[in-house]
């Protein structure tokens, strides 16, 4: 879709300033792009490449390495339904089929109202609460098909204020004032840290310090 807007470009520069090398800021910047558009657009990657001074191919390489960066538009809510062992034993597959049927979409598709995308995912580390689902990476535990329907209708009715739209990392963004940034000198330029300099030298082979 688009490059970063002016507000986000300012934010991007603030993020870049937190790192010794601009390139290190790529992952947070990709999140920023995804927050803006709901997915990481090609134009946004070109913009990021300019901002951190790398080739667009390098941004693409970083972006595509991570499953959670979406390169195509997705629904406002991504439903990650687990079908790994614990969930499967407790009805994960059935839950996925139910979700496909009620929303009328296959995993990876966007529902007609643009609200939902289903994903069939591997273990999401909540086996004790199986079967489970994530809605924009927030958990719903021990989900029956009725519970699923309830989640969907709540979202449609706008009752789930706790769920941010896809791409949003948190409801509150952290801002670090420039004077409180730590460790932003590049490793080549940084001197020996105090805690390291004060260490006793390792004994040599003869056992002497």
């Amino acid at each position: 879709m688009s490059r970063l807007n002016t507000a986000n470009e300012t934010l991007a520069k603030e993020i870049i300033a937190r790192y010794p090398r601009p390139k290190s800021a790529l992952i947070p910047l990709l999140h920023l792009a995804q927050e803006q558009d709901g997915y990481v657009a090609d134009d946004a990657m070109l913009h990021l490449a300019e901002l951190v001074g790398v080739e667009p191919a390098e941004v693409l390489g970083t972006c595509t390495f991570y499953e959670m960066f979406k390169r195509e538009p997705v629904g406002k809510y991504i439903l990650n339904i687990c079908t790994n062992l614990s969930c499967q034993l407790t009805g994960g597959e059935e839950l996925l089929h139910h979700a496909e049927k009620t929303l009328g979409i296959r995993p990876g598709d966007i529902s007609d109202d643009g609200l939902f995308t289903i994903e069939d995912v591997e273990c999401i580390a909540a086996c004790t609460e199986a079967p489970c689902m994530q809605v924009n990476y927030r958990y719903e535990y021990r989900l029956s098909t009725d519970d699923f329907d309830q989640v969907i209708s709540d979202i449609r009715a706008g009752k789930r204020k706790d769920l941010p739209e896809h791409g949003t990392l948190g409801l509150v963004r952290q801002h670090i004032p420039a004077d409180r940034l730590a460790g932003i000198e590049s490793p080549e330029e940084a001197g020996t840290p105090d805690w390291f300099a004060s260490r006793q030298p390792a004994p040599d082979e003869s056992g002497k310090a």
Binding site: V54, E55, P56, A57, E58, L60, T64, F65, E67
Partner: protein
């Protein structure tokens, strides 16, 4: 076993390879140490010129460092004392076989239709180390069959084994990371960003180092099978770096050029111009028979008539003949031509056709080698055109020096170059002030600003150069003509000042044209005879020849592979000269802008068709070897000269190349010790010691021109992809040159008040031209840059070489 005994027995790092006590160099990787001792360990990702990454695991061997034998990747393991290595154990063999079976799971096995088949490391290793059968019965991974990732390179992702060689090369060596691993796990692939092609000047190297058929080059695709190829070693002649190459042909047609790893010169790398411009040799536009002008077209004539008519045109009176060019020729041909011209008393000879630096700078300054210039701790002063555009393989060495060896690069160029990001200091003197800027440094008079350069920057540059000279580190000045719209005299002035600042400095001349060093050394220059001996009666240089022609003082213009109409900076001067002379004779491989206007055209055998030798910018002699027969009736340049001499009643005594060579060795001392027969076999080629110690006569300083406050001073330089003859006639390269553009600094751009790319009118004197304008952060305020010889604008029309600087006015 006693450690003391074994370390005494051998030097270096003692280790055991398959039970044999051997020694490795300090820090040497196990894979290299084994190779050096005759044990080849199979590998895909490891390449001697790239950082080891241990991606492919093919080089696993059993290593015991005292904690029991374990499989370790030998490309990631420096040899440590008493390391016990076994490359023959059952475990090693099972590992290697297993790795190959895994590689072949998704590899398509379309070897019968794959260009790599027959010379494929994957194929070879599968035969030598593989299991022979696969247990994989499922569907292989499928991708769209080759996708073009640039105009020159195609990528077949099914064949790729993800060894990281191409991506490492483009990031580490070329500095153009335009290809990258995309996606993850089973879906990992190499690719570009959508619609951002892999348009690196060095993209062909990735094809050469690809261990499978994943990357193929468009010019070679489906042209031949490896077992049909025959090869010979030669030298790339497209620029003066003299990169070593292997020239391969099939059915008497050149089909491929590969880089040869020469430690001294190109480290195995080539630019795409060196690699692919052989295509021009096979072009239908090649000259195949002697031609004589008949009205507005040419008639083909017989060779003996052509020779006779040329001899007649040359015997018109020695001071009424001008000879331009000679850099395309081999050293031997240059020598024979030089003898012929000397014998005829013709001294108006210039191989440097007005777009280079003075011949005495090239011949007379103390020279160094590329290896010495880039030695760790050295200082390199770049006072030359952007090496990436003009001497790309040298650029790779310089970039490596700056990035990996901590070499300090100081730039004194009219605009930013491809090395600017790696340079510790960059100053961009305004056109016309190069001499003044360097003089200020030599005099330590910095002031607030000289020639648009801030006094403090100037002081820093001067201190760096002078410090290198006092603390004993190498200072190498790469000297060349970085602005064609500016007099070359400024370069001589600047060299003079730099020598005062750093008397120990050595030089590397950044010569663009292939064998220009050979041409100057062989005496195809007005002021020097063969071997760099100053002439008693110097002739005219190119500009003077052209002016004499305009004034009716030259009757015959002989072009030795030169295209002055396209290459001489001042277009009006050169075209008026062509209009005035009676006879133009061209010895060439193509009808160029200039040879198309000749009265007589003699077809010469070109690159890959002649035996001979090449002198690179260091003064290193390397072989040129014929691989295919010359097109049509085209003949070796030296034979043409010998025949003309005979027709003139002169007997040069040359009937074979060996006779030329022995005469050359006998008459030029620096060639005395050359073992001509070993030339094709020795690794790097001998470095000829010119043994000259004369000091360059710099003459008086060039007047610094007054600056026109309303205009922009013009900087004209070249791009790698321009409309040069070889590129223009290579099918795949011809489309690569970009449209000409006017680049100005952001401040000047804002003043113009135009849109990006908007067409403006530029004006110099009474000449006007239209061109699109863009802002470029690499330009200093007040300077405008236009690349020479690009489509869309002939900037030569705006250059007047009587003016030491060209100033243009820009209007909407």
């Amino acid at each position: 076993m006693s450690t003391t005994e074994s370390t005494e027995a051998v030097t270096g790092v003692p280790f055991f390879l398959n039970g044999q006590a051997l020694s490795a160099n300090d820090g040497e990787l196990l894979i290299d140490a084994c190779e050096r001792n005759g044990v080849h360990i199979p590998r895909f990702c490891y390449h001697e010129r790239l950082t080891p990454v241990g991606m492919c695991r093919m080089c696993l061997v059993e290593v015991d460092t005292g904690r029991g034998a374990a499989l370790q990747p030998s490309c990631m393991l420096p040899v440590t004392p008493e390391m016990k290595v076994n490359t023959e154990t059952e475990a090693t063999k099972r590992a290697q076989s297993g790795i190959l079976e895994l590689f072949l799971i998704n590899h398509p096995l379309d070897c019968p239709v794959c260009d790599k088949g027959g010379e494929c490391p994957l194929q070879d290793n599968a035969y030598a180390f593989g299991p022979g059968e696969t247990r994989f019965v499922e569907e292989k991974r499928h991708y769209e069959k080759p996708i073009p990732i640039s105009d020159l390179v195609n990528l077949d992702r099914e064949r790729c084994i993800l060894c990281d060689r191409c991506t490492r090369f483009s990031k580490e060596v070329a500095g153009d990371p335009l290809i990258h691993f995309i996606d993850r796990g089973n879906e990992t692939q190499v690719n570009t960003f959508p619609d951002h092609p892999f348009s690196s000047y060095f993209s062909g190297n990735t094809v050469q180092i690809c261990p499978v058929g994943a990357l193929t080059a468009t010019p070679y695709r489906f042209k031949a099978r490896p077992w049909d190829l025959t090869a010979t070693e030669s030298t790339a002649t497209v620029d003066s770096t003299g990169a070593r190459i292997a020239l391969q042909s099939s059915r008497d047609e050149m089909v491929r050029v590969l880089g040869v790893d020469s430690e001294a010169v190109n480290w195995g790398w080539l630019s795409d111009k060196e690699r692919f411009s052989y295509e021009a040799a096979n072009s239908d536009a090649r000259l195949t028979e002697p031609l004589a002008k008949a009205g507005s077209s040419f008639d083909s004539i017989r060779w003996n008539n052509a020779i006779g008519q040329t001899a007649k045109a040359l015997s018109i009176g020695s001071d009424r003949v001008g000879v331009l060019g000679g850099a395309r020729l081999s050293v031997e041909a240059q020598y024979v031509w030089s003898k012929l011209l000397q014998g005829s008393g013709i001294s108006n000879v210039d191989a440097n056709i007005g777009d280079g630096i003075a011949a005495d700078l090239v011949l007379g300054l103390p020279k160094t080698t590329i290896a010495e210039a880039v030695a760790p701790g050295s200082i390199i002063v770049l006072m030359a055109p952007d090496p990436k555009e003009e001497l790309p393989t040298l650029f790779l060495r310089l970039r490596h020096a700056a990035v990996e060896s901590g070499v300090t690069i100081v730039e004194i160029t009219p605009t930013a170059t491809s090395l600017t990001t790696h340079a510790s200091l960059s100053i961009h003197p305004a056109p016309g002030s190069l001499g003044a800027v360097t003089e200020a440094m030599a005099n330590q008079l910095f002031g607030t600003s000289v020639g648009g350069v801030d006094g403090s920057d100037l002081e820093a540059v001067a201190a760096t150069i002078a410090k290198g000279s006092t603390d004993g580190s190498n200072v190498t000045v790469i000297v060349g003509r970085s602005n064609l719209a500016e007099s070359a005299d400024f370069v001589s002035d600047a060299v003079q000042s730099l020598l005062r600042l750093a008397p120990e400095a050595k030089f590397l001349p950044a010569l663009r044209r292939g064998n220009l060093m050979g041409a100057l050394e062989m005496g195809l220059t007005p002021e020097f005879g063969p071997g760099g001996n100053p002439s008693d009666e110097p002739g005219l240089d190119t500009e003077a020849i052209l002016r004499a022609a305009v004034n009716g003082k030259i009757d015959t213009l002989l072009l030795l592979g030169a295209d002055p109409i396209a290459d001489f900076p001042d277009r009006n001067l050169v075209t008026s000269a062509f209009n005035e002379v009676n006879t133009v004779v061209a010895v060439d491989t193509f009808l160029t802008d200039s040879s198309a206007r000749a009265d007589l055209v003699l077809p010469a055998a070109g690159f890959g068709e002649v035996d001979g030798s090449f002198l690179n910018l260091e003064g290193r002699l390397s072989p040129l070897q014929a691989k295919v027969t010359a097109k049509g009736q085209a003949r070796d340049d030296w034979m043409i000269a010998a025949e003309i001499a005979e027709s003139l009643g002169m007997d040069l005594g040359f009937t074979t190349l060996d006779e030329v060579r022995s005469d050359l060795s006998a008459s030029i001392p620096s060639f005395g010790a050359v073992d001509w027969d070993a030339l094709g076999r020795s690794d790097d080629g001998p470095l000829l010691d010119q043994g000259r110690t004369w000091s360059v006569d710099f003459g008086s300083r060039t007047e610094v021109p007054a600056v026109d406050g309303y205009g922009l001073a013009l900087a004209v330089d070249r791009k790698l992809w321009d409309q040069g003859t070889m590129i223009h006639n290579s099918a795949t390269l011809a489309e690569l040159p970009e449209q000409a553009q006017l680049s100005v600094s952001a401040i000047d751009f804002e003043k113009l008040g135009v849109r990006d790319g908007e067409v403006v009118t530029i004006e110099s004197g009474s000449i006007r031209a239209d061109v699109g304008v863009v802002a470029d952060t690499g330009l200093p305020r007040g300077t405008a840059r236009i690349h020479f010889r690009l489509p869309g604008l002939d900037i030569g029309e705006l250059i007047d070489c009587e003016q030491s600087v060209t100033t243009i006015r820009v209007a909407r």
